[in-house]
């Protein structure tokens, strides 16, 4: 005899069409306009930051930089749903989220300029720094969520990874333990369709990436990641549930990487320009602006003032960043251990002596 022992479904949620029109009646508890305005400002600032950072890299003033162009609604959408004492364990493209959490533009620039002081967030002290390795942060997030659960605190963790990261063992292992232990954690999979040069369909044969949660017994949802309203709403519901002891949740946010993987990449080698152009139709920034114009009476003056305000904030941050003095070479010895072992004190002294003589090989 054969009988069905389990059955699964994956839903997709979106509230706005590509032009920003409301698709159907919005839920009563949809984010109010003030929250969306705040989110919109963060999206504008993130996009301006993105272009400026690439410009700094191209002129030799910043290290390799990963653009988040086109993904602003994901990273800012879940951030709007977070409480200040929730914890963010980000991947490397989450500039928008970090800005929402109180990390400064200057700190972000320092980090991508190779200065580790940029990870010493002055405000968001309990959020994690950007994780460049793939999917390792998912397990770290599970650890943070375990600590929260052990302390019985009404907090939740948000961790973010990409479509490529879902191929990793770390991702599967994090989901598994989060399910078994019912950890207060929201996994956001930013499906931007490309893992460097490898397209989504070469990464997994699964119909959705959301369904990877199902195998771990975790509820999931696919969300239009270019719809700020939808990302915020789905994240808020998941986080409320997690804080109340309802366990983990996974959101697959469908978006598109409009830029190169990083400034070290040239996507024209493997991706058609036509494909990229067609995705501008779904632009998350233009879409939420249309919504604000229609639903919130957002005016041209307000828009111009916002753009100007963001530009000023950005240029001030760039000036601050460029004025930071590099650490002395001996600084590399200051953070490896709480106290440098005696055996390596000589090496530290060598570096100090060399600096004193003004010698470098470069």
């Amino acid at each position: 005899m054969q009988e069905r022992v389990a059955q699964f479904e994956v839903d997709h949620v979106g509230f706005l069409d590509a032009s920003g029109q409301v698709l159907e009646d919005l839920p009563e508890d949809i984010a109010d306009l003030e929250v969306i305005k705040q989110g919109y400002r963060s999206m504008v600032l993130t996009r301006l930051f993105d272009a400026r950072a690439i410009n700094l890299q191209r002129t030799g003033q910043l290290g390799t930089f990963p653009s988040s162009l086109g993904q602003e609604a994901v990273t800012i959408g879940f951030s709007l749903a977070m409480q200040p004492n929730d914890r963010l364990v980000p991947s490397y493209r989450e500039h928008g989220a970090l800005l929402c959490r109180g990390v400064t533009l200057c700190e972000l620039l320092l980090y991508w300029g190779g200065d580790e002081r940029g990870s010493d967030y002055q405000q968001a002290r309990k959020d994690f720094p950007l994780a460049v390795p793939i999917a390792t942060q998912c397990l770290h997030a599970a650890g943070v969520a375990t600590a929260i659960k052990l302390r019985s605190e009404p907090q939740a963790v948000v961790t973010v990874c990409g479509d490529g990261a879902t191929s990793k063992g770390d991702f599967a292992e994090a989901l598994n333990v989060a399910g078994v232990w019912q950890l207060p954690i929201l996994f956001v999979v930013t499906n931007n369709q490309w893992a460097i040069s490898v397209p989504r369909e070469s990464q997994s044969h699964a119909q959705t990436l959301a369904q990877k949660a199902i195998a771990a017994g975790i509820d999931c949802l696919q969300v239009d990641g270019n719809d700020l309203l939808a990302v915020e709403y789905a994240s808020r519901k998941a986080l409320e549930r997690a804080r109340a002891g309802g366990g983990p949740f996974l959101i697959e946010a469908i978006t598109y990487r409009m830029g190169d993987h990083t400034t070290a990449d040239d996507a024209r080698r493997y991706r058609d320009d036509d494909e990229v152009s067609s995705h501008w139709q779904g632009d998350p920034v233009a879409r939420i602006r249309s919504y604000l114009v229609e639903q919130g009476g957002w005016t041209k003056d307000q828009e111009e003032a916002l753009q100007a305000d963001c530009q000023v904030e950005l240029e001030r941050a760039v000036a601050d960043y460029l004025a930071v003095t590099p650490q002395p070479a001996s600084a590399m010895f200051d953070y490896l251990y709480a106290e440098l072992p005696q055996a390596y004190e000589g090496q530290r002294q060598q570096v100090i002596d060399r600096a004193a003589e003004g010698k470098t090989d470069e």
């Binding site: 290290g63 190779g114 490898v198 070290a264 080698r269």
Partner: protein
């Protein structure tokens, strides 16, 4: 095939191009050879080593792998046991940490445990080294880990000709080979033979003959040694440079022969000095070469420190010419 090179003029090739040519030639010579890696197919590899190979050999033999190093190397072990010759690219040597079980507990053990039934002819290519502002998780030189594992072969060429010859030999080898490529060498040009052949693994090369002092090194620091040796030649200090090329097995007799001539030895590498390749060579020479030594053996490598991300800090991260000159002075002055 003829080209525009005049006769007797050696062709000059970039290190990365030589690797590309070795992969292409090996795939043409043996249809069991296939490639796996991240971004190696359409994108041609993060450092361009697999460029255009997809066009010639197709997606069955040039395969982008879903991002999962442990999975990829374990799959390669299976493919090798199944009679194929996988050449796997791990994007940065730092990511080999993810594949350690596959390499150490599987690839290195299969032949030992299963005998003739279990050769693992896989090659794992991976770039090591700093100097590119790539940060502590993308700059490490971890070759000593692999040289410590019985069952693994480890090679690390310093120039285009050796890169070609050693990669062909590695692919022909019935054992698992970790093939280490220094990132800063990829674009470096050097002479390339008209009829390149595989180079025997385990044989060092005398990069420069000299009488006063021996520097044993490999990979990119061969060029640091050559630069310093050239400068010191003006002071009539005559330095011999041994380019190991293979780290496991390493050419003990070539090093001993050189030491027996110069009686002074520096072991130089970009990897962390503490517990490194240099420690093994120094200890071995202190034992079998004791009677030849006129001075202590000096090791020179990176400080016991992750590679800093900061450009300002990385510039001060050794080893550098100053340190090498100081070591030479200590032995000769």
């Amino acid at each position: 095939m003829s080209n525009s090179q005049p006769d007797n003029q050696p062709e000059v090739l970039r290190f990365g191009q030589a690797l590309n040519r070795a992969l292409g030639d090996a795939m043409r010579a043996d249809d069991k050879v296939f490639l796996m890696g991240e971004d190696i197919a359409l994108a041609g590899g993060p450092f361009g080593v697999t460029r255009k190979l997809l066009d010639e050999f197709g997606e069955n033999r040039v395969r982008d792998y879903p991002i999962a190093e442990a999975s990829m190397v374990n799959l390669a072990v299976g493919a090798a046991l199944g009679g194929y010759k996988p050449v796997v690219e791990i994007m940065f040597m730092d990511f080999c940490t993810l594949a350690m079980d596959a390499l150490v507990n599987q690839a290195a053990k299969a032949h030992f445990m299963f005998g003739e039934q279990g050769p693992v002819p896989l090659v794992l290519r991976t770039p090591h080294g700093g100097g590119l502002n790539a940060g502590p998780q993308h700059s490490q030189c971890l070759e000593a880990w692999f040289a410590h594992i019985p069952g693994l072969i480890v090679v690390c060429p310093s120039n285009a000709a050796d890169a070609y010859g050693l990669l062909r030999a590695a692919i022909n080898d019935p054992n698992p080979v970790v093939f280490v490529e220094n990132k800063r060498l990829y674009s470096a040009k050097s002479d390339f033979p008209a009829d390149p052949q595989p180079i025997e693994i385990g044989k060092a090369r005398t990069a420069r003959a000299g009488n006063d002092l021996t520097i044993v090194t490999y990979g990119n620091t061969v060029h640091l040694a050559e630069q310093v040796a050239k400068e010191r030649a003006e002071q009539e200090i005559d330095i011999e440079i041994i380019d190991l090329r293979s780290l496991q097995p390493w050419d003990e007799s070539a090093v001993l022969t050189s030491l027996s001539k110069t009686h002074r030895l520096i072991v130089l590498h970009e990897a962390t000095e503490a517990f490194g390749i240099g420690a093994e060579i120094a200890a071995r020479m202190a034992d079998i070469g004791f009677d030849e030594l006129d001075a202590p053996i000096i090791r020179l490598g990176a400080p016991f420190m992750p590679v800093p991300y900061s450009v300002a800090l990385e510039a001060e991260f050794g080893p550098n010419a100053d340190q090498l000159n100081a070591a030479i002075d200590r032995l000769l002055l």
